[in-house]
Amino acid sequence: MIETKDIVKTFGENEVLKGISAEFKPGKNNLIIGGSGSGKTTLLKCIVGLHEPTNGDVFFDGQNFTNMHFRERVPIRKEIGMLFQNSALFDSMSVADNIMFPLNLFTDMSKSEKQDRANFCLKRVNLDGKGKLHPSELSGGMKKRVGIARAISMQPKYLFVDEPNSGLDPLTSILIDRLISDLTQEYNTTTVVVTHDMNSVMGIGDHIIFLHGGQKWWEGSNKEIAHTNNQELNEFVFASPFMKAAREKL
């Protein structure tokens, strides 16, 4: 389980996060949603340690991650898999090398074992046989799937996903969402997804946190979100005519 306690993050005078406390449970798709500039990605970066919170603490299974030094964090980091918004694949490496990169650094696996693991991960994301390609030869959806394959190569306990659907067509978005959800069940990972895609929210949102103006504004599940009276949340969720029409049918 991941827990945040009173996370505050300021950039100069700008207070982006204003004391966010939340729990993210294993085996569930925990979604952080909110409008642009609401602090979703900043919260995610504070949790994984890419930003240091100005105040507050982050706990990974009870261990205070915020107070740890770089080297103390390494064992926890080895259990983290992350899919970035732009996939963040290493351009100079092939797809297989990208997946094997953490294995090369942190395991004593033999070359054939690493290759087997890379092939397994690629198969798991339906990219069997694409290991020799380079990131520049892949479509946006394929890059996301390679990013997921790299994220799961070390069998992570914690999976973080930043805007998995950005720049993808609706069909590919659904495939990526399903993949994330399936992996969460399969590995019992504590999955935290930052998104503003309502299809993802309704499709895989087991536990949703809505951020508004840097504060936790609402918390619940995708079943509860359609029936809430929270005005700001309703404005966000039902902004499109399609969602408004869908709500009337519910």
Binding site: G49, R73, V74, F84, Q85, A88, F90, F101, F106
Partner: protein, 243 residues
């Protein structure tokens, strides 16, 4: 300025932390050595031959007199090539070739979140990205400078053979006359220091890039400009201290 200097020194300290796995870092060092060394050989060959030839022709032009032995041309070409032309001009050219590549490569990795990905995995990103480049720089740039010295002196020989103002025999005699081994030490020190400066300054500029393509370009430009200024400053300090 002090803020940047402090950040630069801290980045260097982070770069030389104990590697997560030596073999992976070693492979990176080898890759960088090939990229910086073999990749720069062509330009070094061209500029060194021309610099040596031009230095010989111009020295001969200035020293044509019955009172000055012709062998002096070889001696002056040798000293100026070893002391200044090969290390400094090569370093300035390499700052453009290698430095811009390092700054833009690391800068692009920063803006496309590849450095964040390394940090998330628990990799010491400065160590993984910067230390192999610095190690490759301080080993391969001296090698390139040695190549440059040999080719520069060869260029002088070819210029003598072509122009006939100074005979090749006089030129070769001049190369060995009054040779002071100290100039080789100075040349080696310069090459190592310049290799360090080019790689570390450009890596620093790339590592702290933020924004997008425009900022990556600006970081590369800054890296090259600052490297060139620091090369010239270090050149002055080393010459003053060692000669």
């Amino acid at each position: 300025m002090f803020h940047s200097l402090g950040r630069y020194l801290l980045l260097l300290r982070l770069s030389f932390r104990k590697p997560e796995k030596f073999s992976v870092y070693w492979a990176e060092v080898m890759r960088e050595m090939v990229s910086e060394g073999i990749g720069s050989l062509g330009i070094i060959v061209i500029i060194s031959l021309f610099i040596g030839a031009v230095a010989t022709i111009q020295t001969a032009f200035q020293l044509v007199s019955d009172f000055i032995p012709k062998t002096v041309v070889g001696g002056i070409t040798r000293d100026s090539t070893i002391l200044e032309f090969s290390p400094t001009i090569c370093a300035l050219v390499l700052a453009g070739r290698i430095g811009s590549s390092i700054a833009s490569q690391i800068g692009t990795m920063r803006v496309t979140e590849q450095i964040d990905a390394l940090e998330i995995m628990g990799v010491n990103a400065p160590g993984f990205l910067i230390s192999p480049k610095i190690i490759a720089g301080v080993t391969m740039i001296p090698v390139l400078v040695v190549v440059s010295v040999i080719l520069g002196l060869s260029g002088g020989y070819l210029a003598c053979a072509a122009s006939k103002e100074v005979s090749t025999a006089d030129y070769l005699a001049g190369l060995t006359d009054g040779f002071n081994p100290l100039i080789v030490t100075v040349c080696a020190v310069k090459a190592i220091v310049f290799g360090f400066l080019i790689n570390s300054i450009c890596a620093y500029q790339g590592f702290y890039t933020s924004g997008g393509a425009l900022e990556v370009g600006q970081a590369a430009t800054r890296g090259v400009v600052y490297s060139c200024i620091m090369i010239l400053f270090a050149d002055l300090v080393i010459s003053r201290v060692l000669l």
